[in-house]
Assembly symmetry: none
C-alpha cells in the first residue's frame, strides 16, 4: 500500500471519522465544505489518489459510492498527542492511538480526540493530560465564548474564542496565563476545530 502525504491522511482520517459517525460516506460537496475547498474537484482528485493508493474503493456513477478498504477496522476516534508546529493535525505520526469512543456521544459529533498540554484552561475544569473531543468542520464558525482548537502561526492551542471585527482574542481560563491577541490581517489563524466534549481517564483523576 502506497504512502500517503500528510494532507491525504488528514482527508482519509476525516472520511473514516465521518463514516463511523453517521455511516453515510460523504459526497464531494460535503468534503469540499469540511475542508473549505472552493471546487468539488479538489475533493474528487483526492479521492482518486486515495483510491489509486488502495485506501478506498470508488464505485463509479454512484452517489456516495466510497468504501473503505478494510484494513484494521478503525473503530472509535483517533487520539492526537503533541502536534508539531505547522504539521496537519491528523497526520499519522501524532496519533497516540485509537479510543473506543462513540463520536455521536458528543453533539454535534466529534471528529478526533486531542490530549491537552498545560494548565491554561484550569479554571474551566480542563487539566493537563485531559482529552478533548473536537469537531473539525471548516464551515463551523466559532461563537464567542466557545472553546476552540486553534493554530496561531503554526502552534496549536486550546482557548476560549472571542472575536471583535478583525481582532480575535484567544482567552485562557487561568490568571497565570495571558490572552493571545490575533490580528486576522497580520497573523495566520486556523481553526482546527471546536471543543465538544472532555474525557478524563486513568491517572488524571
Amino acid at each position: 500500500m502506497d504512502e500517503l502525504t500528510p494532507r491525504q491522511s488528514e482527508i482519509l482520517a476525516w472520511i473514516r471519522a465521518r463514516m463511523a459517525e453517521d455511516s453515510l460516506p460523504p459526497t464531494r460537496a460535503e468534503l469540499m465544505r469540511a475542508f473549505d475547498f472552493r471546487s468539488p474537484n479538489a475533493a474528487e482528485s483526492h479521492l482518486r489518489v486515495l483510491a489509486r493508493k488502495g485506501y478506498i474503493l470508488l464505485q463509479s456513477g454512484t452517489a456516495r459510492g466510497i468504501r473503505l478498504c478494510a484494513s484494521e477496522e478503525e473503530t472509535g476516534l483517533p487520539l492526537i498527542g503533541r502536534v508539531a508546529a505547522g504539521q496537519p493535525m491528523l497526520a499519522e505520526e501524532f496519533r497516540e492511538g485509537q479510543l473506543p469512543v462513540d463520536p455521536k456521544l458528543f453533539s454535534p459529533g466529534a471528529d478526533y480526540l486531542l490530549r491537552v498540554q498545560g494548565m491554561s484552561m484550569r479554571d474551566a475544569g480542563i487539566l493537563d493530560g485531559d482529552i478533548l473531543a473536537v469537531r473539525h468542520d471548516a464551515s463551523l464558525t466559532p461563537q464567542d465564548g466557545q472553546m476552540v482548537v486553534a493554530r496561531v502561526n503554526g502552534e496549536v492551542t486550546v482557548k476560549r474564542w472571542k472575536r471583535d471585527g478583525k481582532q480575535v482574542w484567544l482567552l485562557p481560563e487561568n490568571p497565570d496565563f495571558s490572552p493571545i491577541s490575533v490580528d486576522l490581517q497580520r497573523d495566520s489563524l486556523t481553526i482546527e476545530g471546536v471543543v465538544v466534549g472532555l474525557l478524563r481517564i486513568g491517572g488524571n483523576l
Copy 2:
C-alpha cells in the same frame, strides 16, 4: 411503534440486509429494481410509511439518506442523576438515560455514570453537571487519595478518600467546603464506587 404490514416488513428487512451487506443505504431506484416496481414512487411511498411508523429516518434532499432507527438494545452505561437519600443508586427513577459509552474505555471498567452536583471538587477539575464514570465493586477497597462515591447517613457524595484506622475523611477539593469526618463505629458509610473517569458533554464546556 406502529405495526408493519407484511409487505412493509419485507421491504424493511431487505433494506436492513442491504445495509448490513454493503453499508450503503439503497436509493429509490435500487429498491425499485429489487422489488420489480415500475415506478420509483412505489419505493418512495414505502419509505415514507416506514419513516412515519418510526422504523427509519429519512434525511430529505440527501442521496441515500436512509437511516435505521436502532431497536433500543441497551448498549452503553446508565446515567444516574439526583439520588434521593436512602434510595438505592441504580433505581429506575434516578436514571437520566443511557449513554453509548464503552465501559472498557475506563480501567478497571465502569459500571455506571453519575451526574455531579455542586462544586465541591472544583479544584480537581470536576464541575457541576459533569459526568463521572464509576466502578462499583464491593471487593474494591479505596486507596487513600482516590476519588470515591460514598453514602454517609443516606446522602450520596463524591469526595477524595482518606482513612486513618476507624476514622475516615471525605475530602473536598475546594476551600469553600469542609472535609466530612466519618467515624466507622458511629456513622453509616457505604462505598457506592470509585471514580474511574470523567466525561463532559454539551452545555458544560
